[in-house]
Amino acid sequence: MNILELKNVGLTYFSKNGETKALDDISFDVKNSEFVSIVGPSGCGKTTILSLISGLLSPTKGSILVEGQDAKISNKIGYMFQKDELFEWRTILKNIYLGLEVQGKLSEEAKLRVDKLLQKYGLWEFRNSHPSELSGGMRQRAALIRTLALQPKIMLLDEAFSALDYQTRLNVVDDVYKILREEKIASILVTHDLAEAISMSDKIVVLTKRPAIVKSIHQVNLLDIPTPFERRESVESKKLFNKIWEELQ
């Protein structure tokens, strides 16, 4: 079953300095609980695709359907940005409540769910701390729980790990991967790190340079290896790395 479908999506930005055609013709779909990565040259329109899926932008042409419904009105999507965007004046718990507050969903039941997530993912002791008291990895996990609290069906991750140092990054990637798999959430990851994309994904969408079209789609068959960290070492992933690397040149 496809949870997300992009059909011939195009987007042109208009500004005082002229128009920029960012996306020419993008089509791909994402299955239930599938993990998809988007890679492509810098400035080719990856962030634009995520903005479209999340409904922050409307496509100039084509259609985006989330469970058969127009993406603009769907609120089944969680978005994780490059920076954790935690509010310093709120405690971790209150930060996690933010989306629930905005959508008027802060019920006792939702609070219980958040408590469970906090315990499960090791932030329970820090629920009353302020963001500045947490490490980069913990902050990113808090941001993830903030998004999970809204029970999204699809998670969008835009360079979500690139603000972290390499060591932390490898650990956080494993953490986040495990969480998303456990919660059975379909995910779309945008990253400049090709190895990271391969290590986490079921499918990789390669884009051309701007205005982007889909250049190729690769299936990744590494499910028998449990963690992204271990997958990085496999021969299969290295082969795929070289293949996609060639395409991107």
Partner: protein, 270 residues
């Protein structure tokens, strides 16, 4: 504030040293003040300065006591204090509200931009005669002068703070389908608290400028009135006494704002 329990000898030492430095600074400050007052008095007593144009501490105290005895001291203090506080509250609230309005409506912001810039650079004292003709003499014109001095700069400062909010955080809220009002209350306002405290601190100084300026223009009571009156009859004791009271009031009000700052910061913990 968290309770800090000394954990090691070194830490206890560090704390006691910090405390000693603090006490030392306070002692020196009081020392400077007392010696300045003492020196002034000494120069006056020995006749090195002319108390007719320089006044002196003891005469200032006597003057204050005389006004107090006549029962008018409180009238003057309360008049000025009232004008200063009302002006401060109105200008801060109005300026912040205006800034919110301009943040909300970008077109309005662009339309009003040149007008605000011109108004900001206009010396408000130049409006004195117009104010008096339009609203008449009395408290209203003094408060209006006071408000005019603060309101534009408050609007500009708060607007800059609102507009400078991190785009990523706005995007985050928009990804939750937040409406504009939610973005304002959940992000823009709490994010600008530090700037707001800055505005409070600036305004608590400016409000005295505005009030005294207003009282110079027209008044029947107040510390500004006493200063003008003292100057006209060449009674420097009265001028100095009023200035000293003004200093004390300004200090009290500053500490009140510092206290408000503490409460706000505690609430937002940063």
């Amino acid at each position: 504030m968290k309770n800090v329990i000394p954990q090691s000898k070194e830490y206890a030492k560090y704390l006691s040293k910090a405390k000693r430095t603090k006490i030392f600074i306070i002692i020196i400050q009081i020392g400077i003040l007392l010696s300045l007052i003492g020196l002034w008095e000494l120069l006056a007593v020995t006749g090195a300065i002319d108390t007719f144009i320089m006044s002196c501490p003891s005469r200032i105290v006597t003057t204050i006591a005389t006004i107090a005895a006549s029962g008018e001291l409180w009238l003057h203090i309360s008049t000025t204090l009232y004008e200063a506080i009302i002006g401060f509250v109105i200008a801060t609230a109005l300026g912040t509200l205006l800034a919110m309005l301009l943040w909300w409506n970008e077109t309005l912001r662009r339309i009003l931009d040149p007008f605000i810039v011109v108004l900001n650079s206009l010396p408000k004292i130049a409006l004195g005669p117009i104010i008096i003709i339009w609203v008449g003499i009395g408290t209203a014109s003094i408060v209006l002068m006071d408000v005019l001095i603060m309101v534009i700069i408050t609007t500009l400062t708060m607007l800059a703070a609102f507009v400078n909010c991190d785009n990523g955080k706005i995007l985050l809220l928009r990804s939750y389908n937040a409406n504009k009002f939610q973005i304002l209350t959940k992000l823009i306002i709490p994010n600008s608290i530090c700037d707001f405290i800055g505005v409070l601190k600036v305004n608590v100084g400016l409000t005295w400028v505005g009030t005294i300026m207003g009282e110079y223009l027209n008044s029947r009571a107040g510390l500004g009135y006493l200063i003008v009156y003292g100057g006209q009859i060449f009674n420097l004791d009265l001028v100095m006494a009023s200035t000293v009271i003004l200093c004390l009031l300004a200090a009290v009000m500053y500490f009140a704002v510092a206290w408000i700052e503490k409460i706000i910061k505690k609430r937002y913990n940063n």
